[in-house]
């Protein structure tokens, strides 16, 4: 329990961060296409 709960919390944070950076990347790409 002391291993798996923090592991899944860390994984959740990392996947959320990855999705956030990916969405930012797409927004910036779209903006640079429009400029």
């Amino acid at each position: 329990m002391t291993t798996y709960v923090p592991m899944f919390v860390s994984l959740f944070i990392w996947i959320a961060l990855w999705l956030y950076i990916l969405s930012l990347d797409r927004k910036v790409r779209k903006l640079s296409r429009n400029v």
């Binding site: 860390s10 990916l22 910036v28």
Partner: protein, 221 residues
């Protein structure tokens, strides 16, 4: 084709760092022969963050030198972006280090040479941002920042690699202390540690390229 390669390496990064997170919790700890090996698991994150800090400050210096040679403000933008990211990773390395210190040495902050040196490094780069904020003229700002980034990187080499290795302290690798054991990693622990180094460096590269594009928009406005 370009878009496909782009998404493939991003998914690769997602999987690589996910493996590092799983491995850091369930794989064997990087340090054997100590009473509490579990606390050493943070090294799978702490050391790559410190490495990325060093790489980012090195990149800031290289771009600074390029600015001094070519006098193109694009290099100043690249240099300052690298310095910002280096400082973010430096804060993360300091925080993860002090979490380790709390459980290994009893307190979050012990004024160990390694802790003092990372604090000095942070102060040096906070002074760099103060300098940039204080100068209005872009050419002068870029010239001063480029020169400072060279001096800052020399200080980074001294504070990361020289001072903590010649001064007795608690940190692993420090000379002449009970806590200063050198971490010798096994092949199994390297299976987590090496991907961690690659993943954090790639993550830095991705955030760097993204920040650079955003900063270009800001500069154009």
């Amino acid at each position: 084709m370009k878009i496909r390669t782009d998404i493939i390496w991003k998914i690769g990064l997602l999987l690589l760092l996910s493996w590092v997170i799983v491995g850091a919790w369930v794989w064997e700890p990087p340090m054997g022969g100590v009473s509490t090996p579990e606390i050493y698991r943070i090294f799978y994150f702490h050391v790559p963050m410190a490495l990325v800090t060093f790489l980012a400050y090195g990149l800031a210096m290289i771009q600074g030198i390029a600015y001094l040679k070519r006098r193109d403000l694009e290099f100043d933008l690249r240099s300052s972006t690298a310095a910002v990211l280096g400082t973010i990773f430096c804060v993360l390395a300091a925080v993860s280090g002090s979490v380790f210190a709390r459980f290994a040495w009893g307190s979050f902050w012990n004024w160990d040479p390694r802790e003092t040196s990372i604090l000095m490094l942070l102060l040096i780069y906070l002074a760099y941002f103060s300098l940039r904020a204080a100068v209005v003229d872009p050419e002068r700002k870029a010239r001063l920042s480029a020169t400072y980034s060279i001096l800052g990187f020399i200080a980074a080499v001294f504070t990361i690699f020289v001072w903590p290795r010649i001064t007795p302290g608690l940190h692993p690798g420090a000379p002449g202390s009970s806590g200063g054991k050198v971490i010798v990693m096994s092949a199994r622990t390297l299976m987590v540690f090496v991907p961690s180094l690659v993943a954090f460096t790639s993550l830095f590269g991705w955030i760097y390229s993204l920040s650079l594009r955003v900063n270009r928009f800001v500069e154009e406005d």
